[in-house]
């Protein structure tokens, strides 16, 4: 079995919106990883400019969306963000959890078209859709903060949305290609 067919059978043998055992398990794994990495960077924050924070967990979330589909991306973001907040003791913020879910779901929409995780054009496509997911997810979370947090539009866009989007896009652009190439190797070795 060559690399391409191995990856096809590993990831794309289900329809995009199927919600079966594979989606349950990878949704849970994505959520746990997103939670673990979010929690770890709370302890070891990465230095950044201004109020921009880098969360490597976001690249993992988008990778799970791209590799396993929108349902997995949605569950991983939604549950993972909740887990990370809970374990850090911050409580439950439904709008940021749902925003993270959207961030994982949108790149999942191209799962069926990603057939070669080493192909440069497909990696660029994944990063592009990941960026779109980040914008959609963070815009949702920032704008809903106007109702839950009572902030105004400019604070939502300048204080919340912009720093989150910049940091997340930078992390995704750097780490997602590395994750995809590593995954291509693992899938080929596993042969399924």
């Amino acid at each position: 079995m060559n690399d391409r067919s191995a990856m096809n059978s590993a990831m794309n043998d289900n329809s995009t919106w199927e919600f079966g055992t594979r989606q349950v398990v990878y949704g849970a794994i994505g959520a746990a990883l997103y939670g673990v990495f979010s929690w770890a960077t709370n302890f070891f924050p990465l230095p950044a400019a201004g109020n921009i924070t880098f969360r490597p967990a976001v690249a993992v979330l988008i990778f799970f969306g791209v590799a396993y589909g929108p349902i997995v991306g949605l569950l991983a973001g939604l549950i993972g963000n909740t887990l990370g907040d809970l374990i850090s003791g911050f409580g439950f913020y439904w709008n940021w959890s749902l925003g993270s879910g959207l961030m994982g779901m949108v790149p999942g929409l191209i799962m069926a078209s990603i057939t070669d995780f080493k192909d440069r054009s497909q990696i660029i496509k994944a990063v592009g859709w990941g960026t779109l997911g980040i914008v959609v997810g963070m815009l949702f979370a920032s704008l809903t903060e106007m109702f839950t947090g009572g902030i105004d539009l400019s604070t939502a866009l300048v204080g919340y949305f912009t720093p989150a989007v910049i940091g997340n896009i930078v992390v995704t652009a750097i780490l997602l290609p590395i994750l995809m190439i590593a995954f291509a190797g693992v899938a080929a070795r596993r042969g399924r």
């Binding site: 880098f54 549950i79 809970l86 409580g91 839950t148």
Partner: protein, 292 residues
């Protein structure tokens, strides 16, 4: 680096409540404040006191709660409170009442631009802090007072599908495993002179250098996933409705709390839309106290 759930069993009223009750009550408080957009201190103060009572009744030890409270306080007082005080934005337009007495003003010479703090903005900032704390305090309690093993069951019994509830349950089980994997990977990389605390180079270089931690843990998890899928498929997961080991049952106290939450939500809606009560205004006692 050990991952520990913040939860600890305590014999308190809050922990005797059904987890579903607490989720529903939290949702009622959030919706009561946000959907009818309540800014009236006569409603905010009782709701804040209710949330504070819940918080105190949970009897969480100070050493456990001090850091989360510190972070939430910074967010609430410095970001949201100061924003309200200085800009007055984020609430109803009546906050920026041009006739409100000025408490402090610093304008750029020769212009009308600058900083103006009015009585109205000060009152608004105080109300905003109360409003956020009313929603945040019950949420902060959850990780400390709700058994992580019960989340899956709670969501299932809140009418979530087996798939969603099982995803939730599985995620909580995987969390400590992946934390252990991350710790082992960190130790292994440190043995190879990898120092996470002293990442050098520019921003891109620093993020790239995280790959030796993130990639092994993530790739190992995808392999683990295949084994779990096989095990679940062998047990015919998804072919028929599942049964759950734990069963949650509402007690009379749960109905009482859910009833209270729903009553709060309905009252806020009726007061705002039926009687026009709940909007922002500066009470006379505050105006007199501040302006002397």
């Amino acid at each position: 680096m050990l991952v520990t759930w913040k939860y600890r069993p305590r014999n308190t009223f809050i922990q005797r409540l059904d987890p579903r009750t607490r989720f529903i009550f939290l949702a009622c408080i959030i919706f009561a404040l946000t959907i009818p957009e309540i800014w009236d201190y006569r409603i905010l103060v009782p709701l804040f006191l209710l949330s504070l009572t819940q918080f105190l009744m949970a009897r969480i030890e100070w050493k456990d709660i001090r850091w989360p409270l510190f972070f939430v306080s910074i967010l609430v007082f410095f970001i949201i409170g100061l924003n309200g005080l200085l800009s007055g934005r984020g609430g109803p337009s009546t906050v920026n009442d041009p006739n409100s007495p000025i408490l402090f003003q610093a304008l750029i010479p020769g212009t009308t631009w600058g900083l103006t703090v009015t009585v109205s903005k000060l009152w608004f900032a105080m109300n905003q802090v109360l409003r956020i704390l009313s929603m945040a305090l019950p949420a902060i309690l959850i990780p400390y007072t709700m058994d992580p093993n019960i989340y899956g069951t709670a969501f299932k019994q809140l009418r979530a599908s087996d798939q969603v509830a099982f995803t939730m349950d599985l995620a909580f089980r995987f969390f400590p495993t992946f934390t252990r994997d991350l710790t082992i990977t960190m130790d292994a990389q440190r043995a190879r002179r990898y120092e996470m605390d002293k990442l050098k180079g520019g921003l891109i270089a620093k993020i790239s250098k995280l790959a030796p931690l993130i990639i092994p843990v993530t790739m190992q998890s995808t392999v683990t996933g295949e084994e779990v899928i096989d095990a679940m498929d062998l047990r015919a997961f998804g072919t028929a409705p599942r049964t759950w080991l734990k069963k949650l049952k509402y007690a009379p106290r749960d109905y009482l709390i859910i009833g209270l939450g729903v009553a709060i939500f309905i009252t806020c809606c009726v007061l705002k839309w039926g009687f026009g009560i709940g909007g922002f205004f500066v009470p006379d006692f505050f105006l007199n106290a501040v302006t002397g």
